[in-house]
Symmetry: D2
């Protein structure tokens, strides 16, 4: 028996979900991969279709679209707003472009999934938050680290009361690629990126901490920001100012009284992509390190004292760990791209009327993270504690 399969069928399936994407750089690839892989790892009520990719560089565009399977491509991102078939627009552009694009898409009635941080400035972020609140569309922000299975396990443990009241939060995102040998790019240009390590890395830490603790930050008690490398090589041999923070550290208080310590840096040799978070509570502790993203360390203080110790849990077991329902056995480990794939699955679920496996960040939620970033910058500049209630 030979069976002809139907993938070439041109009519969209009734359960398809047409997606448009803006951006073809790193995040353009990560999101394209998520949309093309999500159906291979999850059984979902709707099937995402890669409808149109929009990006500025026409030379690269056709090749990119063909490689990733986008049915159409355009150099005019506004086309996505005008394409009736597209339900969801995914924004993977530099931070200073998020607001204009997101507002246009919301105005056109599209659901929007935006890269993090929400925006390059507090004003932009506020506008996006307000537009989302005024719209019936759904919004999403790609805080992908929430979607590691090990983080999902951590969230479950905290929700189940296994840590008790949280007393300490340590969230560090350390990288090492930002030395003087690294050439200029939009990421080092404050007018485009809004900030450096703070928005690029610290935003993830703030989101993860708020997500896991389940509380907002009420005060930034003090902060340090530093630009270690003041200029960099430009594309044409010229020297270009590099004016973002290479490192930002701050201390914070959470609503429930936990003390938070945050650090984001691009200049910490030995740390390639070390996104770590640790929580200490009355009854236990958890610790996560993205360089070993499949593992969660858990300390149950109610274990008998003679046997108490950090448990290294390989959080890859279907049935036990969120997002681990892959088609492979336990401890056949996941990689970086699965954070995006897992989040794409949850977006599809939400847009199908179902529940996400874990809560998704929307513009309102990402706005609060942006306010913490703002408070950290202010605390560093002014050498003082900043109440979050003063940021709005």
């Amino acid at each position: 028996m030979s069976v002809a399969t139907h993938q070439d069928s041109s009519a969209p399936s009734p359960v398809s979900l047409q997606v448009g994407l803006i951006g073809q750089k790193f995040m353009g690839r990560a999101h394209s991969n998520a949309w093309s892989q999500v159906g291979h790892f999850f059984d979902l009520p709707r099937t995402p279709q890669l409808h149109t990719i929009a990006a500025r560089d026409a030379t690269e565009l056709e090749r990119f679209a063909a490689k990733w399977g986008w049915a159409q491509a355009t150099t005019r991102w506004q086309d996505l707003a005008e394409a009736d078939a597209i339900e969801l627009v995914d924004i993977g552009t530099p931070n200073h472009l998020h607001a204009e694009q997101a507002l246009a898409m919301l105005a056109a009635g599209k659901h929007v999934a935006c890269e993090k941080p929400l925006a390059g400035s507090l004003d932009d972020a506020r506008a996006m938050r307000d537009a989302a609140a005024a719209s019936s569309a759904k919004t999403f922000v790609w805080f992908n680290y929430r979607r590691c299975p090990a983080i999902g396990l951590a969230w479950n443990l905290v929700r189940a009361g296994r840590l008790g009241a949280i007393r300490h939060v340590r969230a560090k995102y350390l990288q090492s690629w930002g030395g003087p040998e690294t050439p200029a790019s939009w990421r080092f240009d404050k007018s485009k990126a809004g900030s450096g390590a703070l928005g690029d890395l610290g935003a993830h830490s703030i989101d993860l901490a708020r997500f896991l603790v389940g509380e907002d930050i009420t005060q930034v008690a003090g902060a340090l920001q530093q630009t270690f490398v003041g200029e960099r090589d430009g594309a044409n041999g010229e020297r270009v100012p590099s004016d973002v923070d290479d490192a930002t550290l701050f201390l914070a208080r959470f609503e429930g009284g936990a003390l938070g310590s945050f650090e984001a840096t691009r200049l910490a040799h030995g740390h390639l992509n070390r996104n770590t978070i640790e929580l200490n509570g009355e009854l236990g502790s958890i610790a996560f390190d993205f360089e070993r993203m499949n593992e969660l360390s858990f300390l149950d203080a109610r274990d008998p004292s003679a046997e108490r110790g950090w448990r290294r849990i390989v959080a890859t077991s279907a049935g036990d760990h969120p997002y681990a329902a892959a088609w492979w056995p336990d401890a056949h480990v996941l990689g970086y791209e699965h954070g995006f794939v897992n989040m794409a699955a949850d977006i599809v679920r939400v847009l199908s009327g179902a529940e996400p496996e874990l809560p998704l960040p929307d513009f309102e939620d990402a706005w609060r993270t942006q306010c913490v970033m703002e408070a950290a910058g202010l605390a560093a500049r002014e050498g003082r504690a900043v109440e979050l209630s003063s940021i709005s």
Copy 2:
């Protein structure tokens, strides 16, 4: 400017590579994923096309084909031999089926990529080796762990003489899913699997050791095999004999004088998928643990003694580490499926007349691994050392 992309074009591109696959279980998925993802991670001279999937269970087949993008599906694996367009047949079936299928495909002039171990019996393996030798087709065996970037780095270090003469090889593959609570399956049936832990896990260890050391094993000095769980629950509530080895350990000598220690078990609590290998040489050592597959530990004994220590290298840097030319930055870690994706890339390279990034195992190579498995079984049964020269 809007750009129509060409993915729907029905005529195969002149550089396409038509692939047929047999099997739709775990390995069917892993291979399907590899063929569909390889083009997203590598720029290759030819583009694999998922031409036809063959598998017995017709109920599952259409769904599987649609999900993974196979253009056609059939319940008759012989169809693949008869399909002129197909150049490469990929075999992902239980061990006892490999020989018949591979021989048919070679006879039809197809290139063959076969799951490991090469076969369920030495006779089958020999027939496959001989058929491959007599054919002008290329053969490949999916020893996927060779394709972890960290293993690639290890291979490079050994080849560059950084370890000097190898003295010790420790290769363990420890899992823990084989307790009495696990129901019967073909993997516990010696008539289908050929062996248990030895063929399932030990074959990987033997291949990795031979690959990294770059030498053959000349003697199995002693071995232990044990069936700890003698029967298991069948599909209909009956008890079914479980007659494979739950664990196999053996000691071996390599051509160059290195001493090898091998262990494969499905009954080691605390180890979900711990495929580890360590080499100690005159000048240094390397160690790998698949549960942390992105890392290689390297000890350079020529470092000044005060500063000497195991280096934890995160082997994910494009330019530095094999197969790491992903579109994401350093330490954005890879997962299990990439071993298959990376091997698919090398198969495509070879079938395009190019060089693989690292040597690929063919039937001849996998035959030698099968001979070591045979010697280990014999040594265990007879309580004596077995020379590899006596196995043929």
Copy 3:
């Protein structure tokens, strides 16, 4: 041939060094052990003799003296000042007693080795610093962690320029014994201890950071202090206020521009005695964790990028690592008490006119650490950055 040995000879050897000690609790034991063991691990120009122990509790005192080999014992610590034979007085009492005792001993012309922190208050510390400056006696403060061989290796690496300019300092001292189940003691009484986690643990972190970086702290940029447990069980069943900081966190700038992050807590489950410090410099990084006190992690950023990784150095090799000239082979690891033994060796060396193996902290040095503690407390109370130049 039988040889009578001379240990019982009552006349002090010309090279003996008579030591008096105040305190018979935890630190009394640690110091007694150091003085009795130092001659077993080091060949020194003078031999410490345990002359007199002073402590309040007469009941315990005789037993303590006999156990540890103190020739005499007294309940009047002032006796030590009056004993002509005693050259060095070692103070192992609670913080609020340090000043009175140290001043008396300096006035009597004794060298003084004082437990850390220097004092329970800034006023006390200043008086001690001034008295030391006015005296020809030598002073020492038992910052024992400086004397771990792994820290010695770290110091050597920094001094040799292997890290380049330091950019980041992370110093945490995390413990978990301070929950509500722990009864009251002087350590929870601000009038006696001066502070809680800050003076008990944070003082070590500040000293280690200043020692390794080789620079002073110029600013505390922000701080958080928290008393999580407000009262505890007293000795007679009553509830006693617990008014010290259970946790103190602060951010700081070093003279050379490095950014420091400090945390001291007694309420972090999973950390029994985790005194950690990490430095990231332009050329490399080092990391230390006292729970694995024999190891130093070192990252040399000038290693070829493909081979770069944290090296786990077991810093126990005679000839290679400070204080490692023990009578046992490499990696026969040291324990906690050796920090004190090693420091005792250096004190003996200094009092013999020789050089210590690594720089020793004196009252002036410990005063600067005390100023940072003061600034951290002030920054926390007032919610603002505090310049160290304002503390004196």
Copy 4:
């Protein structure tokens, strides 16, 4: 009040225990330290007194005796047998001297504590076992690693049934000091040492495995021995044959059906003193690594699967962990010498009529370990499985 203490009193206390020691090299120091420190860490019914040290090198002897506090010294070890006051003779000499010395001491009615391995040959070992059996004296063998608190915890867990039936035992003792650069010594001379890595390191592994599993080994299923370095520099520039095993590996079966894998080598770069053992049982697993001697890894397979993981237990808590009743808090870690100190405490307890904290190895017990060593050598030489019942 001034209190004169009584340490100088010349009359031995009624509860003193007079000890004689033979040997002033590495083990002479380790044992001297144990006898002088045991009273500082334990409250014992009797107090060991360092009565007489015996060693050949008179030049070193007086200095050694003075340094460690031996009351008398002699170059004639037979003096110890003749000294009526001495109750316990401690033997810290090379392996080939153990038998003669131990037999003489037993004949003189002394209790004997002998360094491991029991002897340099099976004949010697048998004679010692027989002499001990015929004597009313107590015998002890310094298998010091049994006395790490973490091993004590492991023993407790196994005894309490927490691992269930043991299926796998992996015991490795890896060092790296045995390269060709290391000069000749008695340790490389088979006529003195009896064996190389096997007796020096493997004996520890066999003892630990037998101790923890609580069963004897019934079969060596196969073995490998190798001399990698055939000659070494002698003391006078000449080349001296080096004829011991640099490495020995063997596989074994335990009485209860567990499969054991053993490896001892002096040529494994990256391992300074890595004495490791792991047990996998039906219900859980434990793992120990002496380079992190204060830690035990424990996996409880009855933990809920989502939370199951290796627990890193810092086994240093008084009340919870054997031998951890030190005068310092949790996680103020112990070092190498404490294995000897802890064993000395147990010897004193036994010679006081009390129970040791954990079972002590005597000559009968060490004889069984010696038989396993013999079987391993035979299996390697003859290329066959060896039943322990055939060794006697």
